[in-house]
Amino acid sequence: MNIVVCVKRTPASTSVALDPQTGAVKTAGLPHGINPFDEYAVEEALRLKERIPGTKVAVLSVGPAENDEVIRAALALGCDTGVLLSDPAFAGSDVYALSLILAKGIQKVAETRGGVGLVLFGRQSNDGESGHTTAAVGARLGWPSVISVRKIPEAADAAVTVERLREDGTDVLQLTLPAVLSVLKEINEPRLPSLRGKMAAKKMPVETWGAAALGLSADVVGKAGSRMDVVKMAPVPSRGAGVVITGETPEDKAQALVAKLKEAKFI
């Protein structure tokens, strides 16, 4: 089986700041790397490769030339081939447009490598955070999709069985392949790259496909092909200063706290 694992290059989202003049998020100069949620997807692809003989894993990323580094990071862990979908026309794509680019890329991987059985994503990106890309790509391809996968108990060339974590419990579903999945952190413990893997990844070829190679015209990608605009970014208003609960003993403090909670009708 051929597996495609999709990875995004993102800034470390916990240290972003807003430009006070433009209100835009300043990501230049921030450390960038593979979206942490995607590490679980890469790991799961590699584990499926170990489980199913003859499996090959292709890493796919959409973005500028810098994305080469996250593709190589996945190659260093044991993925077989890398593809970068890159074109100036892709910039500014929302999930609607991005899912089309990804779907075309996946189809081209299928054409050039003799089919694709599974596409894996992380739960969400750490910058956009929508968690919407997986199902959108499923719909673009006309393939079944399941998000929030915590376990893949059975995987074979024709079908997979997955456990989906819901808010009220766990669904077990069987999907006819090809299919698209997003996986949770719970699914595995990602491995670290070996020095040898890192060295080998440096020399591996990474193909780059642009809009023309994917048969995409400029009006269906980027801002033109998107249906959503970000109109404003603002810092989160800070919470007002709180109250320090004082007291001599734990019992005193407990009493003071419970009085406050009672006042607020929590009790």
Binding site: T14, V16, L18, V25, P36, D94, V95, Y96, S99, N126, D127, E129, S130, G131, T134, A135, A136, G138, A139, P144, V146, I147, S148, R150, R166, E167, G169, T170, D171, V172, Q174, L175, T176, L184, E186, R227, M228, V230, M233, A234, P235, V236, P237, R239, G242, V243, V244, I245, P250, E251, K253, A254, Q255, L257, V258, K260, L261, A264, F266, I267
Partner: protein, 331 residues
């Protein structure tokens, strides 16, 4: 071709004939938009055995309840549900579709967006209209550091948003909506996903995402038994149990309890953090909580700094004292 949509659809999530109460939050959000545009609000319930639920919804803020039933729709299966809803929307042309930002909504909304050529926004905590009555969605981004406002501008399709649970009040009883059946498109019922089984969480556990009160424990508990204290306080308050990643990674409690960037996003009215330092990845999941209580031995840690009520001390002494005090207060 320009799309002429009308009305707001609120898509219900249900299991076993029971509708998730997030629908009533969607109805509140949808009502405001519909009123501003002079349109109606429709609740769409899809599944099997939903007649009783439909009656309740009609008396709780929906102008109309559309019931889409079929024995084969008993369980939620992504590709089939999306195809059925898309066929229905193509025929009836709503302007706006709201879904809960749960696993269900995040699975369906993107598929609907592609099938209906709709603009799509995630995780709305606020919904407004711009001067042209297009949907403006507010949401948090970048690990809760940024509030983003996005505009949906599809001209050849509707607009779709997933709405974060507990971001809106639940609609009150009142009004008398109509209930109508809508037969699912037969062609849409064949999918490539088969439902195998469902394993419910323990019935006495409150789901974090829908919880109005949460008590969470972190590394400061020191050992797995610490969660017995956390559970005790949670039970006394009628709260759900949460955890930091450090506690989950230590194997003290299952992952589904994790709050934060790589866990659940929660918005309770009350969040009690016991032995949690308040690193930004944890805060990302809970900084929209109403009242925050921090219980921590370190008065200088970030959680104590953001807390509405900061209680310094050893949680092993404080938690039992707080439980006893609540019991006393209740008499």
């Amino acid at each position: 071709m320009a799309y002429e949509g009308k009305g707001v659809w609120c898509i219900a999530e249900s299991r076993g004939g029971k509708v998730s109460p997030v629908l009533f939050e969607l109805l509140t959000a949808g009502r405001k938009l519909a009123a501003a545009r002079g349109e109606t609000v429709t609740a769409v319930v899809i599944g099997h055995g939903l007649q009783d639920a439909a009656g309740e919804i009609a008396g709780r803020g929906a102008d109309q309840v559309l019931v889409v039933e079929d024995a084969s729709l008993k369980e939620f299966v992504d590709d089939v549900y999306a195809a059925v809803l898309a066929k229905l929307a193509e025929a009836r042309k709503p302007r706006t579709l709201l879904l809960p930002a749960t696993v269900y909504g995040r699975s369906l909304a993107p598929r609907l967006s592609v099938l209906l050529r709709a603009g799509l926004a995630a995780d709305a905590v606020g919904l407004e209209l711009d001067a042209e009555q297009r949907l403006l969605v507010t949401r948090s981004a970048y690990a809760g550091n940024v509030v983003a406002t996005v505009l949906l501008r599809s001209v050849d399709g509707p607009e779709i948003a997933t709405v974060r649970p507990l971001a809106f009040e639940r609609s009150a009883a009142g009004g008398a909506g109509t209930v109508a059946a809508a037969a699912p498109d037969a062609g849409a019922l064949a999918g490539k996903t088969a439902f195998v089984s469902f394993g419910a969480d323990r019935a006495d556990e409150i789901d974090l995402g829908a919880a109005e009160k949460i008590v969470s424990g972190g590394r400061g508990l020191g050992k797995p038994e610490g969660f017995e204290l956390v559970r005790k306080l949670a039970k006394t308050l009628g709260a759900a149990v949460g955890a930091s990643r450090a506690a989950v990674d230590s194997g003290w409690i299952p992952y589904k309890h994790q709050v934060g960037l790589t866990g659940r996003s929660v918005r309770p009215k009350l969040y009690v953090a016991c032995g949690i330092s308040g690193q930004i990845q944890h805060m990302a999941g809970m900084n929209a909580s109403g009242t925050i209580v921090a219980i921590n031995s370190d008065a200088e840690c970030p959680m104590m700094k953001v807390a509405t009520y900061a209680v310094q001390g050893d949680l092993y002494k404080l938690l039992p004292a707080i439980v006893a005090e609540i019991e006393k207060a209740r008499g």
